[in-house]
């Protein structure tokens, strides 16, 4: 339980980000450290000016999926960003932006929401990952 959970987030849709946030919060609640590595469209979703915007859903959601997701949010479920914030409150959660993706998207660290703790490359990510699992979302 002491090995970190390491999540590489690539997809930037609200459903996948919520799934990632739930996995993060669950691990944090168990005292398990979590390292999140934001790449591509997941990184784009963490832009300060876009984080609360609608990032859509994966195509497999379809119309029924959209209704189901909206219903859960209407019932008071926290946004994925808020779920990540609650997870961070528990401690042990580190969220880093992939420096390659920062270049791809022409982003500066100041463009990102405060949820993002810093920018790092894949080597630092692997060092921090230790013997823990690496999960790609």
């Amino acid at each position: 339980m002491d090995e970190p959970l390491n999540l590489v987030l690539f997809s930037g849709t609200d459903d996948k980000l919520q799934a990632a946030a739930v996995l993060t919060a669950g691990a944090a609640a168990l005292g398990k450290p979590v390292n999140v590595f934001l790449q591509y469209w997941a990184l784009d979703a963490f832009r300060a000016d876009r984080i609360e915007a609608d990032h859509g859903l994966a195509p497999e959601a379809g119309v029924a999926g959209r209704l189901a997701v909206d219903a859960l949010r209407a019932a008071g479920q926290a946004s994925w960003a808020d779920t990540f914030r609650q997870a961070k409150e528990l401690g042990g959660v580190d969220i880093e932006a992939c420096s390659l993706s920062m270049d791809l998207l022409h982003l500066e660290p100041t463009d990102l929401d405060p949820l993002v703790d810093g920018v790092e490359g894949v080597t630092a990510f692997y060092l921090n990952a230790g013997e823990g699992q690496v999960v790609f979302i």
Partner: protein
């Protein structure tokens, strides 16, 4: 039924996974060792979640019950 003194109440009714556990973990952070925390939840998955969480973290699940779709858990902060 013995009367127990609960130090904190966590109302997680209406919250979906993982919030009942997350809220409980947040409450544990502010609780002193030995204090009791009572949690109410409506999420059906919380029964297994609290058992697993208690086993993993070592905070004892002292009591649990269900009444009309509301689950009640009492945790002792280790």
């Amino acid at each position: 039924m013995a009367v127990i003194e609960v130090s904190q109440h966590v109302d997680a009714r209406g919250l979906s996974c993982p919030m009942p556990i997350v809220k409980t973990a947040q409450a544990v952070k502010t609780a002193a060792s030995g204090e009791l925390i009572e949690v109410l939840a409506t999420d059906a998955g919380s029964v297994k979640d609290f058992a697993a969480w208690s086993r993993t973290t070592g905070h004892e699940l002292v009591e649990q019950s269900a009444d009309g779709g509301v689950y009640r858990f009492v945790i002792r902060r280790k």
